[in-house]
Symmetry: C2
Subunit: 330 residues, 2 copies
């Protein structure tokens, strides 16, 4: 197995990307191609010990930044690490592509270069959503802001296949994000999607309200990309603001500081449950080859985990299973 890694994407590129790739090679015993400015990547690689034959560098002199317009960058920056990496994936030089770069560009590149699976209308971004008991998968996390009801059915099916195979959840429960629990609730989009999900070959448990999401009632959370992005970022924002208020409380006087010391390890473990770095990256679902988006602020540990997730994505043959099931239902 050979995984292509975007060496120049993300806030901590190339240092943490290269370090994470080295850690993945040493831990998972796979081959990696790092795409990016050859000399820069090689200089980083020189810092580490690893089986040298397992990592090669594919030169790409340009970089797509977060300020670039996604579709335009993919079309014009032909020598960027992302475009060169996606081309290498398309041509079969590697088995999967991991990038912490511009999300929109990665989505556009997935659609334009790697292309969709036959029968899939739109590729979706699937993001891990930590809940009280474990994790759910939220699809779509922001790729498709104007969706049709049938896109949501496809997101549900692809998310269900991913959770069953990569995350080993048996018969994953699928819920639809809505403003009420009852059938018939919601806007036009989710009202129509509800009936499509009911008839789909998935374990559909019905509508989920915002307050149900952190309870972990569903393994797969389905919504359009606009709602999905709002759910994810509101969750992040509320967690950050509560922890910052908690921190203030814990340092407000001597008594509370003493309490905080006694609670230190417990509070740390609570915070780590919400740490995106633990959960690898966000898979793109619906492209012809596996693509995983790592968080933009990924450190080496997060990159290593994203590569680990990619290994299961490839090993479990998720693309083929999606391809077969999408065609069957059409």
């Amino acid at each position: 197995m050979k995984i292509i890694v975007d060496g120049m994407g993300g806030d901590n590129a190339p240092q943490d990307i290269v370090q994470g790739a080295v850690q993945a090679v040493n831990e998972f015993h796979i081959d990696i191609i790092i795409v990016g400015k050859e000399k820069v990547i090689e200089k980083e690689l020189d810092k580490y010990n690893y089986p040298n034959e397992r990592i090669e560098v594919l030169d790409a002199q340009d970089i797509i930044t977060n300020e670039d317009d996604p579709a335009m960058a993919i079309r014009r920056k032909k020598d960027s690490s992302m475009v060169v990496g996606l081309r290498a994936l398309k041509e079969g030089i590697g088995d999967g592509f991991v990038s912490a770069g511009n999300t929109g560009a990665l989505l556009a590149g997935g659609m334009l270069i790697v292309k969709r699976i036959k029968g899939v209308d739109r590729a979706a971004l699937a993001s891990v959503y930590p809940n009280l008991n474990s994790i759910s998968l939220l699809v779509d996390a922001g790729a498709n802001v104007d969706s049709k009801p049938d896109y949501l059915r496809q997101f549900a099916l692809m998310g269900s296949i991913y959770m069953e195979n990569v995350m080993a959840i048996n018969n994953p429960k699928v819920g639809l994000v809505n403003i009420g629990a009852e059938e018939g609730k919601g806007n036009q989009l989710v009202k129509e999607a509800y009936y499509l999900l009911k008839d789909a070959n998935i374990n559909f448990i019905g509508n989920l309200e915002g307050r149900d999401l952190p309870q972990g009632e569903a393994d797969v959370i389905v919504c359009d990309g606009f709602a999905g992005n709002i759910v994810l970022k509101t969750t992040e924002g509320v967690a950050i603001s509560l922890f910052s208020q908690l921190k203030e409380v814990l340092t407000s006087n001597i008594k509370s500081k003493l309490g905080a010391i006694l609670l230190q390890s417990e509070l740390k473990s609570l915070k780590s449950q919400l740490d995106y770095r633990e959960y690898g990256g966000a898979p793109l679902l619906g492209t012809q080859k596996p693509i995983v988006k790592a968080h933009g602020s990924s450190d080496a540990y997060a990159i290593k985990n994203a590569i680990g997730q990619m290994i299961s994505f490839i090993n479990k043959d998720v693309i083929n299973i999606i391809s077969k099931n999408i065609s069957v239902e059409d």
Copy 2:
């Protein structure tokens, strides 16, 4: 001033509603009409001391429950406390209506019985959103799940007027819920709404992402009712789940229990910041007379605060100001 209160709406009706109304009379020195089953309400009133001439009971033998279909209930349950109360409001028997009952029915009743202000396309529910520093007002909180761009402009304008007058926020900052900060982001609805908000006579500060909301970057948060409901309920869900995890952590062993005792009062004050009961109810914006929706699980304290909020809503002449400004812009 005379405020009409729905005596039978909400989880704790009629006991807590009547008690809250009595508290409001004693604290604010206003007159109240409680609508509901006369004998039941009077039996509750007998428990308390208050200036008897200040509270009268308007008999209504039927009740709209949360299981009732909103529009149907308003049309058919003509002798329900909600319909009788809204009619009394329309006829000028009282100056405002407060209910903790079925939200959808209250919205439908507001539109069908009390009617919209001329120039307002849709009445919106405006909900308090607690943030790190104080509170924001979120409009629409769930009344209009399929909105047009111009509805959002009207929500922004009405919310801005409410915050400026009732909450005494000078030149309130208005933000649009979106999936990115830049102009041009989002789905079709918010893309078009963005330009309408930019040209409106409000202090528009641009797009807000989900993670900005708890930071209190805007005084008025504008979105369609589907997104608004998701923001509110996700926020509630995340806060509940974090507090429940925190509670587990605080009682996990003797050391942490000791820490928890030292932090008790600080944690309590943190939790009370998120307590909806402190903030009164959610005003309906766009109807010809003031209507406030109290939380379904309101206790007497929350009802008293919702009545207090209604007093400002009436005193500040918000309806007239909305009416004048909506017409000017059209």
